[in-house]
């Protein structure tokens, strides 16, 4: 299998992976996931946060097997290709904070960079506002990268810490299968809409495997376009969008084109823009979008695990403190949180620079 993958033209593998992911994301809606939410790294991690009882928004609690599959698929790919390396120690606390801010931003828009594309592929034009905001945020991040921003070097660690998160994922999978009494599961709302467990798990595994091999990143693609004029990662994003759009058209799953009355969405343009700017900025400072952080978590990067834990904390805060948006619109505190979040991310961008080695 290794030889097969290595023999493929890299560009073909990228486009193939993007297309497959896009098609599967659309099919997941047909098979039970919420509309325009076949796959969403932020929303699904938020659902898991709720299933664990860390927030009590009853309509968004479910252990999404797609996320578990992502991490485990990456873990398998990293092992198969001898890329599993336990490392950590690159500003974990800052990563935790940026992860939390990234999640809060995503929950004010109601979607991660993946779902922004899926919303657009389903006719929801708010996806455009979001993508413009995301690209603006990534642009701000690039300015910091050019000034010498970084979160410091990581160091090699003994193997054990790298295994902890995949092991935790397996515990979650057991919870999903056996649904013990302390796990919450929505009976109404988006959390109650889901594909069959094994379907979602297998798709997650496949996407996780391909994402690990292709280094798929839904912010990195835009970043590399601007930073080094390279379309390598962007070609995945483009193929993903085409795959989802065409499948939606074939399945007759397209909604209407427009800004209003879109599924699990609101049309507050100002905060759709700024919330996704926060996501783009935080993801660029972190070196990867929410999906990429989960892939890295599966291959031994404990700094990415800190980011994912930050995202879980961010999801809990967003719902417990009433920051998350809903179809009714942006909550007052949500707008404040995005503003403060942007300010914090900018301060981090200004202050985190490598000390010159003498």
């Amino acid at each position: 299998m290794r030889r097969f993958f290595q023999s493929l033209n890299p560009r073909i593998l990228l486009i193939f992976s993007g297309l497959v992911f896009g098609v599967l994301a659309s099919l997941l809606v047909r098979w039970g996931n919420p509309a325009n939410m076949g796959f969403c790294a932020a929303c699904f991690l938020r659902d898991i946060t709720g299933a664990l009882g860390l927030h009590r928004a009853e309509v968004v609690q479910y252990i999404r097997p797609e996320i578990l599959g992502l991490v485990l698929g990456s873990f398998i790919a990293a092992f198969a290709f001898k890329e599993f390396r336990t490392r950590g120690g690159s500003a974990p606390l800052v990563r935790f904070l940026l992860g939390a801010l990234m999640m809060i931003g995503a929950l004010v828009f109601l979607g991660c960079p993946v779902r922004a594309l899926l919303r657009l592929a389903g006719g929801d034009l708010n996806g455009i506002t979001a993508l413009v905001g995301l690209i603006f945020g990534a642009f701000l991040g690039i300015l910091f990268l050019k000034r010498g921003f970084n979160l410091g070097r990581s160091t090699k660690l003994p193997a054990l810490p790298g295994w902890l998160f995949p092991a935790f994922t397996i515990v979650l999978l057991l919870f999903a299968i056996f649904t013990p009494y302390f796990i919450f599961s929505s009976t109404t709302g988006p959390g109650a809409l889901h594909a069959a467990l094994w379907v979602a798990l297998v798709i997650g595994l496949g996407v996780g495997f391909l994402a690990q091999r292709t280094r798929m990143c839904f912010v990195g693609g835009w970043r590399d376009l601007m930073l080094i004029k390279d379309i390598h990662l962007f070609s995945i994003i483009a193929a993903f969008f085409v795959g989802a759009l065409v499948t939606n058209l074939i399945l007759g799953q397209m909604g209407h084109w427009g800004f209003s009355d879109q599924p699990i969405a609101h049309n507050n343009h100002l905060w759709n823009f700024f919330s996704m700017s926060l996501v783009g900025l935080a993801a660029t400072l972190l070196g990867g979008c929410p999906l990429r952080q989960m892939i890295l978590s599966g291959e031994g990067d404990t700094d990415a695990v800190m980011t994912v834990l930050g995202m879980i904390a961010g999801a809990a805060v967003a719902h417990n403190f009433g920051l998350a948006a809903s179809t009714k619109g942006v909550a007052t505190f949500g707008a404040w949180a995005v503003g403060i979040g942007l300010a914090i991310a900018l301060v981090i961008g200004f202050l985190m620079k490598e000390r010159r080695q003498s």
């Binding site: 290709f81 890329e83 390396r85 490392r87 690159s90 990268l145 050019k146 970084n150 070097r153 990581s154 160091t155 090699k156 280094r215 990195g220 970043r223 590399d224 930073l227 080094i228 004029k229 390279d230 390598h232 070196g287 990867g288 890295l296 990067d301 700094d303």
Partner: protein, 72 residues
Amino acid sequence: MMEVDARGFSCPIPVVKTKEAIDNNPSAPLSVLVESEVSRENVSRLARSRGYSVKVERIEDGFRLLLSPSSK
């Protein structure tokens, strides 16, 4: 030869550092140290797109990439 030590940094930092070194020393050979397979791929891709040839050596904790500008 100028050396960029990007070991321990995760992407995109190795790419940013290499780009900076290329921009500051156009048409000079460079040595870039990276730790991960991902960084090796990304830095090599950047270098080739800027007309450098890339030679990869394995070192104890990663790779040494020798970037030489093409003769044109």
